[in-house]
C-alpha cells in the first residue's frame, strides 16, 4: 500500500515537473490579417511548429549543434542562428535558452498563403556558460517577429528577429 502510494506520488511529481517544463502559451485573437483569412487548423499548425522551433533553438544553442535547427528553420533565420552557434563553438561558449511564456499573435497571412507572420512577447531565461562555468542567468522579456513558410510537411521559421519593445 505504502509502496504504491509512493510510486503514485513520484509519478505525480514527475508529471508536474514535466508540465512545468512546458512554456505557458497564450494566443491572442487575430485582428486584421490582411488579404487572406486564417483557418483555425492552419493557425494551430503554425503555433505548434513555431513553439517546436523554440525547442530546436534551445537544443541547438545548448549543444552548439547547428544541425538541430534543420527541421524547424529555413533560409535567413537558419543561416543567422547557425552562424551564431558556430561563433559560440569557436569561443567555447554555450547558451541555454529556456522559454517560459509566449504571448503570440498572428499578424499577417499573405494572399497566396506562402508566408505567415506572428509577433510573440516571449519570456525566457538565458544561461551563459563559458566552458563549463555558468557566468550568468538572465530573465528576458522580448518581442519577437517570426515569419514562417510552408514546407513539405510543416511550417518552418524563415525570419526570426527580436523587436524593441
Amino acid at each position: 500500500m505504502k509502496r504504491s502510494l509512493l510510486i503514485g506520488c513520484s509519478l505525480f511529481a514527475a508529471i508536474l515537473a514535466l508540465g512545468s517544463d512546458q512554456p505557458a502559451v497564450r494566443v491572442a485573437p487575430t485582428d486584421s490579417l490582411g488579404p487572406r483569412p486564417l483557418e483555425k487548423q492552419t493557425e494551430t499548425a503554425v503555433i505548434r511548429d513555431y513553439l517546436q522551433a523554440w525547442r530546436s533553438l534551445s537544443g541547438a544553442f545548448e549543444q552548439n549543434r547547428a544541425d538541430l535547427l534543420d527541421p524547424d528553420f529555413i533560409g535567413t533565420a537558419k543561416e543567422k542562428l547557425a552562424d551564431t552557434i558556430r561563433e559560440q563553438a569557436k569561443l567555447g561558449i554555450h547558451t541555454r535558452y529556456r522559454d517560459s511564456a509566449h504571448n503570440i499573435q498572428v499578424v499577417f497571412y499573405s494572399p497566396e498563403g506562402l508566408s505567415i507572420q506572428l509577433v510573440d512577447t516571449v519570456e525566457y531565461d538565458v544561461q551563459i556558460l563559458d566552458g563549463k562555468t555558468v557566468q550568468t542567468t538572465q530573465h528576458v522579456r522580448a518581442r519577437y517577429v517570426a515569419v514562417l513558410t510552408p514546407t513539405e510537411v510543416r511550417w518552418k521559421v524563415r525570419l526570426f528577429q527580436a523587436k524593441p519593445e
Binding site: 551563459i128 563559458d130 550568468t136 538572465q138 525570419l159 528577429q161 527580436a162 524593441p164
Partner: protein, 290 residues
C-alpha cells in the same frame, strides 16, 4: 529612541554604500544601436574582466580592462535583435541589455502571384514585399513601398503601401488586353520586378457558319474571342455536335489561328451546335432553316 536612531543611521550608511557599489560597477550600454554601427560599452572599476554580448543573432566575447570603454567597430554587430551584455569580473558580475535595430531599407523580397492569369480580373494579382536592410535584417520601422503594374498596352496601375512589421502587400487588376505585364515593387533604392503573363479569359463570342462541301457539310467558327476581344489561344478545343434522326456525331477541333473548322455529315434537318468549355455558341438547323 537611541536604538531607533542608530538603526536609521545604519540603514542610511548601508544604502549609501549600495549606491556607491552600484555606481562603481555601473555598465553603460546604449538602449538601441543600428545594425552595422559602432558600439561602445563603458565599464567602471578596476581589474580585468570578460565582456559577453549574447543574443540568438550574434555572440561576442572580449577580455576587457574595467574602467575603460570597449569599442566594437562598425560592421561587427550587424544582426538585429535583443542582446544581453554581461561583464564578468574577478569579484562581481554586471549585466545589461540593448536592442540592435535594422538599418535603412536596402533590399526586398517580392512575391507576385500568380505568374499567369486571365485578363480583366479584379484584384487578381497580389504582391507581397518584405523589406530588408543590407544585413538581411527585417526592417520593422514603417517604410513606404510603391507597386506598379504596367502592361504592354494599357494603363499603368500604381499603389503605395506602408510596411507593418516589415511587410507590405497589395492587389492589382489584370489588364483588358492579353500580354506580359511588368510588376515592380520599390522601396527607396531597392526594387524588384516580376513578369505577369495575362492570357485571354473565358470565351465570350462563339459563332459558326456552315456550307455544303460536296456530300458533306463544312462548318467553321468566326475567330473565337473572350469578353475583352482577345483571341483565344490556338489549341483551345472547340466541339461541334450534330444530331439527326436519333443519331449523333461529335467532332473536337483545336483552334488554329483563332478559328476551328471541320466537315460533318450533311443530313437534312440535322441540328449542329458548337461549344468550347462551358460556353455554348450558336446552333444551325441544316436543310430546313439556316
Amino acid at each position: 529612541m537611541k536604538s531607533r536612531l542608530t538603526f536609521l543611521l545604519g540603514c542610511l550608511v548601508l544604502a549609501s554604500m549600495q549606491l556607491a557599489l552600484a555606481q562603481a560597477g555601473a555598465l553603460r550600454v546604449p538602449k538601441t544601436v543600428e545594425a552595422g554601427d559602432a558600439l561602445s560599452i563603458q565599464s567602471a572599476g578596476s581589474g580585468k574582466a570578460v565582456l559577453y554580448v549574447v543574443g540568438p543573432g550574434q555572440v561576442l566575447r572580449r577580455n576587457v580592462q574595467l574602467g575603460e570603454t570597449t569599442f566594437f567597430a562598425p560592421g561587427v554587430l550587424h544582426n538585429a535583435g535583443h542582446y544581453l551584455v554581461v561583464l564578468v569580473g574577478a569579484s562581481s558580475t554586471e549585466d545589461g541589455a540593448f536592442d540592435v535595430t535594422a538599418a535603412r531599407p536596402a533590399a526586398l523580397s517580392f512575391l507576385a502571384k500568380p505568374s499567369r492569369l486571365p485578363v480583366d480580373l479584379h484584384d487578381g494579382i497580389s504582391g507581397v514585399v518584405y523589406v530588408f536592410d543590407a544585413f538581411q535584417n527585417l526592417v520593422l520601422a514603417p517604410s513606404e513601398v510603391s507597386f506598379q503594374l504596367s502592361a504592354i498596352a494599357g494603363a499603368v496601375q500604381t499603389r503605395t503601401a506602408l510596411t507593418h512589421n516589415g511587410v507590405a502587400w497589395t492587389k492589382m487588376n489584370s489588364a483588358a488586353k492579353e500580354g506580359a505585364a511588368q510588376f515592380v515593387a520599390r522601396v527607396g533604392d531597392a526594387a524588384g520586378t516580376r513578369v505577369i503573363q495575362q492570357v485571354p479569359g473565358n470565351p465570350c463570342h462563339l459563332k459558326m457558319s456552315a456550307r455544303p462541301s460536296g456530300q458533306r457539310l463544312a462548318v467553321e467558327t468566326e475567330p473565337v474571342r473572350d469578353c475583352s476581344g482577345n483571341a483565344l489561344p490556338d489549341g483551345t478545343i472547340v466541339t461541334f455536335r450534330e444530331t439527326y434522326d436519333g443519331g449523333e456525331s461529335t467532332v473536337d477541333v483545336p483552334l488554329k489561328r483563332g478559328i476551328a473548322r471541320t466537315d460533318m455529315p450533311a443530313y437534312g434537318g440535322a441540328r449542329i451546335s458548337v461549344a468550347t468549355g462551358v460556353f455554348i455558341g450558336n446552333e444551325i438547323r441544316w436543310g430546313k432553316e439556316r
